[in-house]
Symmetry: C2
Subunit: 147 residues, 2 copies
Amino acid sequence: MASNNAASEEAQVRQRVASWAKALRAKDVDGLMSHYAQEIVVFDLAPPLELKGVVAYRKNWTDWFATFQGPVGYEIRDLDVATAGDVTFCRSLNRITGTRTTGENSDAWVRATVGFRKVGGIWIITHEHFSVPINMETFQGALDVKP
Amino acid sequence: MASNNAASEEAQVRQRVASWAKALRAKDVDGLMSHYAQEIVVFDLAPPLELKGVVAYRKNWTDWFATFQGPVGYEIRDLDVATAGDVTFCRSLNRITGTRTTGENSDAWVRATVGFRKVGGIWIITHEHFSVPINMETFQGALDVKP
């Protein structure tokens, strides 16, 4: 029973990650935000060091979506889920592709670690950490590294 | 009882984070490695995108410690712990200070997200994610951002 429950919880988390990514690809800000806790703490690709709360985070996503022409390509690879009780963390390598309003084609892999809590029977995201590694000689972000 | 247990588990995790940081400051590679699962997956400050297993990670830490003269300063701020059953994730803002063998003084804040599993009654780290944000215009790592 216990392992069946764990498998069922993991399946629920994977569904939430899939619906999150679907909203992202569609640039559906409301759909995306429905996955987040009010008091989410984000370590995002761009400064500041941390971003707190859904109001600030909604603005971030809205501004970012506006830099793309048409939909955003978003692939989630090697998703690993650790879940027990009302706590889950996931990690994955995520590929972002798309054409910017500047005409530039983006294609970058980022590392994602996501923390969930189960609240009222639903897994919600309380913490996201997205990053690229940086070259320690030049401090330049490595946007061309691939898995 | 449940909340007492959760408080007790959180205290155990905080102790492990403290002993991890103590080993780091002392450049004690064995002490540091005793906190990690064999199959740890790391999203580190520097490339590659991900690093797998304790053999590779031990080399990383050893090489990094060798770039410092004397001990490494390491402060952990705003540590938040989410724990249930045998799964925990933490986030914090960590400040790294010290004098490099080049004579340069380092002082940088990094974001840390750490995943634990409880194995044989002990919390061990199965995933670490360290990063700095990057400026999205220049792609330069922001090593001067402060909390």
